[in-house]
């Protein structure tokens, strides 16, 4: 900590009370947001990526309503119908139909409309990472602020634990965690678990476990650079609690770094969920999570490539857009810091 003379403190406290040195949290956040959006508009690629991400986020909310069919509805092939002794007629599935006006992305190997499945799938492929990233970022921010500000033995212990976790390859840790957590959750048959889905809960746990240390490390670094700032010292002199200082004095200043980190973690979370789905460890059939769609369509890649390409395009455009947006945010932050 830096040494501050009592006259300096008195002077700063006076300024602080006048609102010049420590603007209100909301005002700082609003100002920063306005600033970032204005700057973002000046970066065409970042701005386009922003709108693509917004579009996908909108699909997460309303995709299911826009889809012409339910994700598991099997379309009938009128050319292959069976009439039974009781007079009932039932038709086989319209499997691997190419894209058409009725089925814009074609049908899959089970005769389901790929367009509807991609739209429904946004909820799982994007929604789950949003929730999981929220948990990871919240927890990571809380731990990062705490360890960075308090320091000492607590910081040492937490940092070493996180270093250990980070030394394990992401996919390996995810696979091990999923293979142990999912069967445990499934065997318990808890109503909450059953309603949310054991795999969904396990994926949220995995992503939180994987990304909390990374977020915490970034926030800790930012906090280390802020904890000796004058307005923090002033808050201490005012007798504010540690929690108050962390939330009201330090957190607003780490928001830009947090935004970049959160967007990065979000894109990695999407990638991880899709990868695990592709490996058969994520969403279970018939849930149309995009990685799972790619896995299912792989068997018919040569005969029905459309079932493979559309979910791949959806995953790719989303991840690229989130990354481009993240890059744009980073550039803005750097420019902003340089200007200051």
């Amino acid at each position: 900590m830096c040494a501050v003379s009592s006259s300096e403190i008195k002077n700063v406290v006076q300024h602080s009370h006048e609102g010049e040195q420590s603007p209100s949290r909301l005002a700082r956040m609003a100002q920063a947001t306005r600033h970032f959006l204005r700057q973002l508009a000046q970066q065409p690629v970042g701005f386009l990526a922003f709108w693509v991400v917004v579009l996908y986020l909108a699909l997460t909310l309303v995709g299911s309503f826009l889809a012409p069919y339910a994700f598991d509805t099997i379309q009938s092939d009128p050319a292959q119908c069976v009439t039974r002794a009781n007079g009932q007629t039932r038709c086989a599935a319209l499997q691997n139909a190419p894209p058409s006006a009725q089925y814009p992305f074609g049908t899959d190997r089970n005769g389901r409309d790929v367009f509807s499945r991609v739209l429904h799938g946004a909820r799982f492929t994007i929604g789950l990472p949003i929730i999981a990233t929220f948990f990871a970022v919240s927890l990571g921010t809380f731990i990062g602020l705490g360890t960075g500000y308090i320091g000492g033995a607590l910081d040492e212990i937490v940092s070493r634990v996180f270093d250990s976790l980070l030394s394990i390859p992401t996919l390996v840790l995810a696979l091990v965690t999923l293979s142990t957590v999912v069967p445990t959750l499934q065997s318990n048959a808890n109503p909450f678990v059953m309603s949310v889905g054991a795999t969904n809960i396990a994926l949220i746990i995995v992503i939180t476990l994987l990304y909390t240390p990374i977020v915490a490390r970034v926030i800790r670094s930012a906090t280390l650079g802020l904890r000796d700032r004058g307005y923090v010292e002033i808050a201490k002199l005012r007798g504010e609690s540690t929690l108050y200082i962390l939330l009201n004095e330090i957190l607003p200043s780490v928001i830009p770094a947090l935004a970049v980190e959160a967007s990065l973690r979000f894109s990695y979370a999407i990638f991880l969920v899709a990868s695990l789905g592709f490996l058969g460890l994520g969403a279970q059939p018939p849930i149309p999570e995009w990685g799972r769609l790619v896995l299912d369509a792989r068997a018919t890649a040569s005969t029905a490539p459309h079932a493979l390409w559309f979910p791949i395009i959806a995953i790719a455009t989303l991840i690229i857009s989130v990354n481009l947006l993240s890059d744009a945010l980073q550039r803005l932050l750097r420019t902003s810091n340089n200007t200051q």
């Binding site: 069976v82 009932q88 086989a92 089970n110 048959a189 058969g280 059939p285 068997a299 018919t300 890649a301």
Partner: protein, 515 residues
């Protein structure tokens, strides 16, 4: 500058030797099979295709079952049964050597068959109760507790490999030069190297007693878990043969340079509903509801283009032409009837209305795709399920009291082809059978299974099997939606390969590599 000649000569010698070794290797014919890795190597207990194929390459049986399902002598030169059917005398071939150079004697056979009993091998399901003794250097006598019409098939079962007398722990890796000492068989190939989960290489046995019509010098098993990776390996020439390919991959394999093999088998998925006290299917009306809610006809069209054979609810399939006949009691798709039965059984809102029933799937072949169709069919029949695909390794792993396939309420298990229908009945449906995964117990069925085991007359046996088939339809705990053809593929430069209906029993002695 003076150059010393000595290092130059050494380098040239090494280079020549290397070229010579490469030339020798290039001349050898290697037959490479891509498959999932075996887990249980013990010949008395290893059950799935890779495990049986591993052992089949090293060991021999007394009797074998060929790809057509017929019994053919292997190490036995002759077998005679007594009039009362209670004694079988097996005469062994003379001059058979184990890989360690020792001769095959009756003591080896006695040790093998006593060990099958000690370890509780699944072979006992067909062999029944017996005593075995050596009645000569090359003669073994089996004394049966009761007549057993399928005893010869028991001698040829997947687990009845003859091992060396005293080998209490066969197929366990040792140290140093003795690394493969316990992999000591009389088969056409000797284990040369084994890297668990990676590969195994077998070299031609120079002292093999039988006839080898092919030209294979080495057999290599390359372990590839993922089916698409297996297909890619075949297409790129990294392996020569793969088997148990999902039917919907057939189109992917219809390319130049690949020969596909589609064979009618008795292989079938078993949709089984656990039926003991307190389990999901304890009430027979629940079991029947599942049957009425399953559209077998459309499953056949959707999954196989209609070329599979629709099942009867029992494992007696079309491969057993003497015993198989469509059963009138087999339920036609009638979802309304399913809902009605469930309402009667105390499920007015259907089964799994609040929380879906967990439906475990052995993730082999196209079973997950089948489960997705079933989920839709069953929903119409007031049955709500959640699909839980399981890697076969996990699904079948663990002790009997924890293995998922033997314990969960609702599941799909894959059953490979067997030479006789009796084998399925005694392995999986008799009360207390080792693989009775549905925990179904029916005294009348048990009595009929026992009765069938003693009948040698085909017509009389078919009549008993017809009764068994009706019991399965009326109160059985399983649905056999279809009997599937099995698909394999090889590179086009392979000939003489006759894939067995149980691919792990495929005989590679006649394989010719190269045109």
């Amino acid at each position: 500058m003076k150059i010393s000649r000595q290092p130059l000569i050494v380098m040239l010698t090494v280079a020549l030797l290397s070229l010579s070794a490469m030339w020798t290797m290039a001349q050898e014919t290697v037959f490479r099979i891509g498959m999932v890795a075996p887990v249980t190597l013990d010949p008395a207990t290893g059950s799935n295709d890779p495990e049986v194929l591993f052992n089949r390459t090293i060991y021999s049986y007394l009797w074998d079952v060929n790809a057509e399902g017929s019994l053919v002598p292997d190490l036995a030169s002759d077998t005679t049964f007594s009039e009362d059917g209670l004694t079988a005398v097996v005469t062994l071939r003379d001059g058979v050597l184990f890989h360690d150079g020792s001769s095959l004697t009756s003591a080896d056979v006695v040790f093998t068959y006593n060990r099958l009993k000690e370890v509780g091998s699944p072979a006992l399901n067909l062999l029944g109760e017996y005593e075995v003794s050596a009645t000569g250097d090359l003669e073994v006598t089996f004394t049966l507790a009761r007549p057993n019409a399928d005893f010869a098939f028991g001698l040829a079962s997947n687990w009845s490999f003859v091992i060396k007398d005293g080998t209490t722990s066969p197929n366990v890796l040792g140290e140093g030069d003795a690394q493969f000492a316990s992999f000591n068989g009389t088969g056409a190939f000797i284990l040369e190297s084994y890297n668990p989960n990676v590969d195994a290489t077998f070299v031609k046995n120079p002292n093999y007693w039988g006839e080898v019509t092919g030209n294979v010098d080495r057999v290599q098993h390359i372990y590839i878990e993922d089916q698409q990776a297996q297909i890619d390996a075949l297409k790129t020439g990294a392996v020569d043969f793969i088997f148990k390919v999902a039917y919907d991959r057939l189109a992917d394999l219809t390319v130049d340079g690949i020969t596909t093999i589609v064979k009618a088998t008795n292989q079938h998925p078993v949709i089984r509903i656990r039926s003991d006290e307190g389990a999901l299917g304890e009430d027979v009306r629940v079991r029947q509801a599942f049957k009425y809610a399953t559209d077998r006809e459309l499953l056949n069209i959707n999954l196989f283009g209609g070329i599979a054979t629709i099942g009867n609810n029992d494992p007696i399939g079309p491969l057993y032409a003497d015993f198989y006949a469509p059963n009138e009691a087999t339920q036609e798709f009638d979802p309304a009837k399913s809902c009605e039965l469930l309402a009667e059984a105390g499920y007015p809102d259907g089964l799994g209305a609040e929380t879906p029933i967990q439906f475990y799937i052995d993730d082999s072949f196209n079973y997950v795709q089948m489960a997705e169709f079933l989920q839709q069919d069953w929903a119409e029949g007031c049955i709500n399920v959640e699909i839980l695909p399981r890697n076969p390794g996990d699904y079948y792993a663990g002790a009997d009291d924890v293995a998922e396939w033997l314990n969960v309420d609702l599941a799909v298990t894959g059953w490979g082809s067997r030479p006789v229908p009796q084998q399925y009945l005694v392995e999986a449906y008799r009360t207390g059978a080792s693989f009775n995964e549905s925990h179904w117990s029916d005294a009348e069925l048990d009595a009929l299974i026992d009765e069938a085991s003693q009948i040698t007359d085909l017509e009389a046996r078919a009549a008993v099997y017809a009764q068994i088939s009706t019991i399965f339809a009326e109160r059985g705990s399983v649905i056999i939606p279809f009997f599937a053809p099995i698909v394999g593929a090889s590179t086009s430069n392979i000939s003489g390969l006759d894939m067995h209906p149980f691919p792990g029993r495929t005989d590679v002695r006649g394989v010719v590599v190269g045109n």
